[in-house]
Amino acid sequence: MLLNAIVIFICSMFIFSVNGAFAQVQWQTKMSFDHILFLENPYSSHHYNDQQSSVSLSSDMYGSFFGSDISYRFEGFYRYDEKDKIRSHADIRHLYARYEQSNWALTLGIDKVFWGVVESRHLVDVINQADFLEDVDLEDKLGQPMLTVTHFSPEGELSLFLLPKFRELQFYGQDSRFRTSQVIDVSQSLYESSAADQHLDWALRYTHVLGSYDIGVSYFDGTTREPRLVDLSESGNLVPVYDLMRQVGLDLQYTGDSTLLKMEAIYRDTRIDSFFAGVFGVEHTLYQMFGSALDCGLMVEYLFDERNPLSSPTSFDNDLFLGTRLALNDLHDTQLIAGVIVDADHGQTFVNIEGTTRLMAQLVAELDVRILSHANVRDPMFSFSQDDHFRLTLSWYF
């Protein structure tokens, strides 16, 4: 209901501003064509699927009333998958109005925020739900309705977030690629809170720059974005259970001449578990290698997570991440990021390679490779070992 009111309000502002000569609207649309080539047979033999194509469309409008302190943004996203109806999905990534003064701002509507400094696993980033249908690396996020008040000072920023509507994590279906070994029935999801997805979550975050140190502390109180998957043996399916949690987060980066030291750590308290988790990393960049413009960034991160492996297993309990970022610094902004996460206990290895280059002024090509090997049967990612793939994306911007 509130969301409908916000949508109507912001849409009317758009109509008003587009017609008005004093408004400044920036509009960008992106259309992508995706093709996935799987290297192995699917986990589920129901639906043989060695290739999968999809198209996606995203439209982003940003504007402000000229001479006023109010700005707004709308970004809608839609993907259509030729084979997987569950993978076809739509989302409103952004739909907010923002009122700004020089040292404070208020945002109302659907927005996305990013917290964190490490590359392998974004531990402290809790506000937005992951768009799991977009990418298994959880980097894509769903829009989150929120009311945010932020105060800005020269060294730091203090924000209060009120998060009224919870977004559930979407899982793949029985016949999908990237499905889990046991089917997850999202229609049966359970909440600790009696208010279910209407529970009002809230968070506080403070960031500070002190010389070469960038520090962030955060506190979140509400429904966890990461459900536990519980077996309700009636149907043999897994059901997502969303507990309430209180989480303290700390992220820290030291920036040296060509080396960065990074850390993210959380302490989470739920009704069934209390634990620490953290990621510690180093990133060093070698500039202009071999006398060319090539920059090579080297990253090493150690991941640990103490959560109870029986109630909520995680892939990143004791892992090492090695990564490299190659930037050609050419006219086409060609870049390659390659990383591997290895589990120190079981040897499970997850390889992730992403290359991108601009083919023409408005056309960008991206090639991703994802391979999971030596998969551990107790690991939540186990079933993905059948889903190793190449993914080619061509995106047209207009």
Partner: protein, 289 residues
């Protein structure tokens, strides 16, 4: 003087002592003559220290002519061409804040609007004179602010022939100066000054700068790599006046080593537009869109 000593040793192998003397004398005259014509004005040779002082004085006047704008914004189109005539264009907007702290340079916020796939990417720089700059990069798709290491002065800015070093604010104390000669440049007369970087990690051994004598604006810069070879040249054209400030609108950087060229076309210069410190803090990036 070094050259004369070297040639004496070479000439020692000649059979005739007389021949050697004549050759060395001629060469000696030749070399000292060029030194003489370089640091010579009004019929009198300038000493090294006078040349340094004169170079510094001109640099001071040129710098003074360009400072005092408090803050500014400008739009910029960067046209990059490589040796095979492929061109690509980047469009950016640069906001600058002058600081008056002697240890700090200016603060700048660069926002890209083209090519479309990098639209919204921004770079915030707090320049420091004696230390590494503080820099933060904003990635609009992830909405991530990332502080980056900034030792990389010699790296290409946005893939162009301008390096981060070229892009950073000019500060008098970063260089040693020496005036070498007067020369005509187009319809004007220029002073040619050698400036040598005093800071570490520079990609240049020295730069030759042509500053015109009337407007005190830089017309041309020759860049010498660490081996002492001239490998880049910058020409600054289409100077227009904004109140008391002159600004060039077309900057062309040619790299002789790789045959690449970058042309920067400026437009919409605005000075003293009310930007403050709070517009150049890390939070300024997360407030973008």
């Amino acid at each position: 003087m070094r050259y004369i000593v070297f040639l004496h040793l070479q000439c020692a192998y000649f059979e005739s002592f007389k021949k050697m003397t004549i050759i060395s004398l001629c060469l000696g005259v030749f070399f000292s003559n060029s030194v003489y014509s370089q640091q010579h004005i009004n019929g009198r040779a300038l000493t090294d220290s006078e040349a340094s002082q004169k170079g510094y004085a001109i640099a001071v006047r040129a710098d003074r002519a360009n400072t005092g704008f408090k803050n500014s914004t400008v739009s910029l189109e960067m046209v990059l061409s490589n040796h095979s005539d492929t061109k690509t264009s980047r469009v950016l907007e640069i906001s600058t804040l002058e600081t008056h702290d002697p240890l700090e340079g200016n603060k700048s916020l660069v926002r890209f609007s083209a090519p479309r796939d990098i639209r919204g990417t921004a770079l915030l720089s707090h320049e420091k004179i004696t230390q590494q700059d503080d820099q933060w990069l904003y990635l609009p798709v992830l909405k991530r602010v990332k502080r980056i290491a900034s030792k990389n002065k010699t790296g290409a800015f946005a893939g162009s022939e301008f390096t981060y070093e070229d892009f950073s604010t000019f500060a008098l104390d970063k260089f040693d100066y020496k005036w070498i000669r007067e020369e005509s440049c187009e319809k004007l007369t220029c002073d040619v000054i050698v400036r040598t970087p005093k800071y570490s990690d520079s990609g240049y051994l020295k730069q030759h700068v042509w500053i015109d004598q009337s407007l005190l604006q830089i017309r041309r810069v020759d860049y010498y790599n660490l081996s002492g070879e001239r490998f880049k040249q910058l020409t600054l054209e289409d100077y227009r006046q904004y109140g008391q400030f002159w600004r060039p609108h077309i900057l062309t950087m040619i790299n002789f080593e790789n045959q690449h060229q970058t042309q920067m076309i400026y437009s919409n210069f605005s000075f003293d537009v009310g930007l403050e410190e709070t517009d150049f803090i890390k939070s300024s990036l997360s407030r973008l869109r």
